[in-house]
Amino acid sequence: MSAVHPVADLYTEHHRWLLGWLRRKLGCHDQAADLAQDTFVSILTAGNAGEIREARPFLATVANRLVAHRYRRQLLENAYLEALAALPEALAPSPEDRLQALQVLQQLDQALDGLPPAVRQAFLLAHLEGASYAEIGERLGVSTSSVKQYLTRANRQCFFAIAA
């Protein structure tokens, strides 16, 4: 039995390869180095490194997820800054509240992840814009009873599908 931590083995043997792979994918050395680091941290935290059979496909899968996650955060941050700029000054959150608001929005975005666009849209219109079901139905081109089905599905996922 090896005394070395399985992640240490992975790191020694595959870190350079992963870094090169990420650099080609992202075209940026700094981002690639960051994400390679995050990939190993993620595997370390998951604690199942000893069970990995095909090291490189596994590393690529984990790294891909992290890339997708970072990309999504970036999209959200951009949308957030645009929305902030569009707010009347009186309604804009204070600098201290901005980060917290962004965190809340990221949580919401993740909680709604994977829902069909219309279901997600119905949830956002009802909960955040206070639109009536009739208004939502008109906007999405569906009946009020469909809107209710959408909302029940979105409510269920948003509130209960992720540990909180």
Binding site: A83, L108, L128, G130, N155
Partner: protein
């Protein structure tokens, strides 16, 4: 092999699928604004039928409260453009893990004072908009205001009520069996010992507050217990773990303990801010009518009705877009 069912959770504990479905459906119905008095009773019965039902509903209120404070328009404009983006396969587990971390740190901020998790496991608590009065073993009357929580420990040495969140009104009892045992309300900031009395204790972001309506209490800050202060009838005081200071008596506890909300020549925006403590969701006041003043005494039990009655005394209109989103504005505005 069948795929595993998605794991459902509320307040950090696993939740049955059927309960999650029922809670989600109740919320959908409430937001449609089609819940009448009979339906509301059935909803209350459902909540009372099993601790998991109540837990699921509390979870909904807590999670939705976190985004209801966002400026109107901001959340929608941020999240709507991302609607059509495809979810990548396999992301979910990682996102779930990251989501857990994000939420924990968010709660960490709030936990320093409002301690939502502790409040959830308290002996006695009220939801937003709910009030509760109970008689304790010594005959004392304890009233919990909206969104409040207490633990109660009578251990033979003292009669201890620990205020975890919100505010309480106390009328101490005089049962002879408890004669040698001081009645104490404790918060994280310190202890309030009753000296035969009627008083109220509240906890908010800035510390703790006590208001005394009969006889007196003694405050003892948690970090400097020797710095005691006696507060007499008709007086109030604020305290934190280090010190206390006198403040004007807040008359509201006697009013809410009687189930009433008093308006005495108040501005409409101040009145709505106070009323908002008894309601989930957003209650918005159009700046054009914010400065209107009025007086009245209103029953707290039905805040929807208080809002619906506003146009009788003021030139305003009240729009219920959903139960969770109410706007008070000028009559001619859309």
């Amino acid at each position: 092999m069948t795929p595993p069912a998605p794991r459902l959770h509320a307040t950090g504990q696993p939740l049955d699928e059927a309960v999650a479905d029922a809670a989600a459906e109740w919320l959908t119905r409430f937001m449609a604004g089609e819940v009448d008095a009979g339906e509301r009773r059935r909803w209350q019965q459902w909540r009372a039928a099993h601790p998991d039902h109540e837990r699921a509903w509390q979870h909904i209120e807590r999670v939705s409260a976190s985004w209801q404070g966002l400026p109107p328009g901001l959340a929608y404009r941020t999240l709507a453009p991302l609607a059509g983006r495809p979810a990548r396969p396999g992301r979910r587990q990682l996102l779930a893990a990251l989501f857990g971390v994000g939420l924990a740190s968010g709660l960490g901020l709030a936990a320093s004072r409002s301690t939502p998790l502790r409040a959830l496991h308290a002996d006695l608590r009220t939801a937003t908009g709910e009030q509760r009065r109970i008689e304790l073993a010594d005959g004392s009357l304890l009233t919990l205001n909206t969104a409040s929580a207490v633990d109660i420990r009578f251990d033979g040495e003292q009669r201890l009520v620990r205020l975890i969140a919100g505010e309480i009104h106390v009328v101490t009892g005089h049962d002879a069996r408890f004669a040698g045992q001081p009645f104490v309300v404790a918060t994280d900031d310190g202890r309030v010992r009753a000296l035969g009395t009627r008083f109220a204790v509240a906890r908010d972001d800035a510390g703790s507050r006590v208001d005394v309506f009969a006889h007196a209490v003694e405050i003892s800050p948690a970090g400097r217990p020797e710095r005691t202060r006696i507060v007499g009838a008709g007086e109030g005081a604020r305290f934190d773990a280090d010190d206390s200071r006198a403040s004007a008596l807040d008359p509201r506890p006697e009013q809410w303990a009687a189930g009433q909300l008093h308006a005495d020549d108040v501005r409409l925006d101040d009145f709505l801010a106070e009323l908002g403590r008894y309601r989930s969701g957003i209650l918005r006041c159009d700046p054009a009518v914010a400065g209107l003043r009025f007086s009245g005494v209103f029953p707290l039990a039905d805040s929807d009705r208080i809002l619906a009655m506003l146009p009788n005394s003021l030139p305003v209109q009240v729009r219920f877009r959903t139960r969770y989103w109410v706007t008070v504005s000028t009559v001619d505005a859309r």
